[in-house]
């Protein structure tokens, strides 16, 4: 406890401002990320590394699209759906976007209710988030099936540049995998919340440490990141 008191007085004594905060935090020989737990900091760092993974996918897509001499298939037509006697461009992708955004909204509210220790609402909102995520993956499976039936392969397609298929399967496949894992972890944590693990301080299965409601926020960070990546995929792959 003396440690706590010491740290408090040190912090209060000379508190640097603005960018000097950055320098002093990193140089303080303690915890660089004050008021951020290790779990949250590690999730952020994981997301940073994942950002680079997706950046490189999008970059390779940009490279093949810019350097091909053949015409790039028009995503607006490729992803059109025939509804009510006419082709509506990109409609499935638009619906998928709205589903994912909605799941982000419910996740953000789950985090909020978690910190209010309202475990019923938190668990229900997390389950809704998981259901929306599963819906998204389902629609993606439908889209893949449709394109594969139409002859899209990683090495070619009926409409133009063969690189279209490999970029499409790689980028959306990797993103869909992220969503799938997100759904699995949402279900696991929703179960813990529902059971009241974070109220009773029940020990975790792997770690045997007591969980806190912060895990809901950490889960939320991952889920919002998946939504964030979709924003970029939507812009660069489907709209460009």
């Amino acid at each position: 406890m003396a440690e706590v008191a010491l740290r408090k007085t040190q912090d209060a004594a000379a508190r640097p401002r603005h960018w000097r905060v950055v320098a002093s935090d990193w140089a303080s020989d303690q915890t660089a990320f004050k008021n951020v737990s290790w779990g949250k900091a590690m999730m952020w760092i994981f997301l940073l590394s994942d950002t680079f993974v997706f950046s490189i996918f999008l970059l390779s897509y940009m490279t093949v699209r810019m350097s091909t001499t053949q015409t790039w298939p028009n995503p607006s037509q490729v992803f059109a759906l025939h509804i009510g006697g006419q082709d509506i461009p990109l409609i499935l992708i638009a619906i998928m976007t709205f589903v994912l955004i909605t799941s982000s909204g419910t996740m953000a509210m789950a985090v909020n209710y978690g910190y209010r220790r309202d475990r019923k609402k938190t668990a229900v909102l997390m389950l809704v988030t998981a259901a929306l995520g599963a819906t998204f993956v389902g629609m993606q499976a439908f889209e893949w099936t449709k394109l594969i039936m139409e002859g899209v392969r990683p090495w070619g397609n009926p409409w133009g540049a063969p690189q279209f298929g490999s970029s499409f399967f790689m980028i959306t496949g990797f993103h869909g995998t992220h969503v799938t894992f997100g759904v699995i972890f949402l279900l696991i944590i929703a179960r813990k919340v529902w059971r009241g693990d974070f109220d009773t301080g029940r020990a975790g299965f792997f770690t045997s440490r007591r969980g806190r409601y912060e895990i809901v926020e950490i889960m939320g960070l991952y889920w919002h990141f998946v939504d964030l990546v979709w924003v970029f995929i939507f812009a660069f792959f489907y709209l460009w």
Binding site: D11, F33, N35, W44, S67, F98, D227, L228, L239
Partner: protein, 121 residues
Amino acid sequence: MAHATHADAAPGASTAHVEGQQHPIKLYLVVWGWLFVLSTFSYLVDYFHLQGLLRWSLIILFMLLKAGLIVAVFMHMAWERLTLIYAILLPPLLVLVFVGIMVFESNYTLLRRVLFFASGA
């Protein structure tokens, strides 16, 4: 010990972390609404077949606004300390350098392909 210090080690932050992040639900609903509106806008860019510079700039604009809202509000980055913000948000900017390199490379590849494979392909 580390866990005990965590809760009250929040001096200097812009908001007091009593327990985690506490914001009114309304804030999330407003952001959710905006994300819907911005997504609709970017969909309409495609729907109305806008082309050229207008299309690209609108797509990028809506994309960045959406990304900003998600990171700042949903992921609570707006309420984090500057140290974490810099540590997470600055490194991805380096990707832009990579983009520059690959644009250069792609143009070169395309030029070679046009020059040597134009007849065959």
